[in-house]
Amino acid sequence: MPLYFFHLANDYEIEDSEGTDLPDVQSARRHARTVVGELTRNSDGLLGKQWARWTMLVKDANGRRILSIPLSQDPSSDGGAGNGKDRSADVR
């Protein structure tokens, strides 16, 4: 299975050096949303705002950027394409 890497970017990058085996881009997107959810869960109040300015960058094993998801987006609004709320950009 291909390896996908899930980094966080703001003024600097927090790198996912390990990567995760996933069957396809759709699975990578779901995994990214899950991780974003786990990172931002219970993040309310002053301390929580730290993640809001970050973006998740998903790259494939060749270093190609596959997905970009701002963490300020509500990860539970998983409307996929076309619901207007989905601000994650598929970068090809």
Binding site: F6, L8, I14, D16, E18, V35, E38, L47, G48
Partner: protein, 244 residues
């Protein structure tokens, strides 16, 4: 009769807190055993046949779901014991006990331990008091998992591990931490990365080093402070987390 001074009792605090006469009853039956990281001491449903007193290692108890996923219910180091409830009668485990940090353990056969408990009320009281502490910690973990952020929980977990093994060098894998915290391994990598970027820890494969404990405490949730101050009420009255 040989006098066994407290200094000879090793590092386990529960054993060290026992009255001399009680410790003398257990001591001939305690064996020193070394277990490596990842060793499974028991699975849910197993009959508990031994009681383990950590001297230098650390054990996590995990609830295992039917899909095989696990999440931490409790973690026990030299401040406690695993399988202590076996002293109250034949019991089956409802968690999996995983050695998280390898080390030495004082181990006693459950039947021997149960016999000693039957004959000595002090031992029964110790088990009851310790079980209350463990329950309070487990309840705190429930609240923590529900209410606190992944980074605050990871910081707490790292500090508790340091307290249990008494070293800032934590031989923990991210897979283990993911299981403890009930999150994806990716999430652990990213949270650990942010703690590292802030200069609080340094992590490599299989190892995390605490660089700035004071700031890591600031980053941890309040549960760390609460759980640090648990101590045995009543008869025994020892602070399980006090520095030696």
């Amino acid at each position: 009769m040989t006098t066994l001074s407290i200094a000879n009792r090793g590092n386990n605090r529960l054993l060290a807190a026992l009255p001399q006469s009680i410790y003398a009853v257990l001591q001939p039956h305690l064996k020193e055993v070394t277990f490596k990281q990842r060793k499974v001491l028991f699975e849910p449903g197993d009959a508990l046949d031994r009681v383990y007193f950590p001297q230098s290692g650390m054990v996590s108890l995990l609830i295992i779901t039917t899909e095989g996923a696990g999440i931490e219910a409790a973690t026990i180091g030299r401040e406690g014991a695993v399988g202590l409830q076996r002293g109250l009668g034949k019991r089956r485990a409802f968690t999996r006990a995983n050695v998280q940090v390898g080390g030495t353990f004082s181990v006693i056969e459950a039947d021997r331990f149960e016999k000693a408990v039957r004959e000595h009320d002090v031992l029964r009281n110790t088990i009851t008091a310790y079980t209350e502490v463990l329950l309070a910690e487990a309840q705190q973990i429930v609240a923590c998992n529900a209410l606190h952020t992944a980074d605050a929980r990871l910081a707490r977990w790292l500090l508790q591990t340091r307290d249990r093994i008494e070293s800032p060098m934590l031989p923990l894998t991210q897979e283990f931490l993911a299981q403890m915290l009930g999150v994806r391994r990716t999430t652990v990598t990213l949270v650990a990365g942010s703690l590292q970027a802030a200069g609080l820890i340094e992590y490599r494969r299989g190892r995390i080093e605490i660089l700035d404990a004071a700031r890591l405490e600031d980053a941890a949730c309040e549960c760390y402070g609460v759980m640090q101050h648990q101590h045995l009420p009543g008869t025994i009255g020892i602070d399980l987390h006090a520095p030696a």
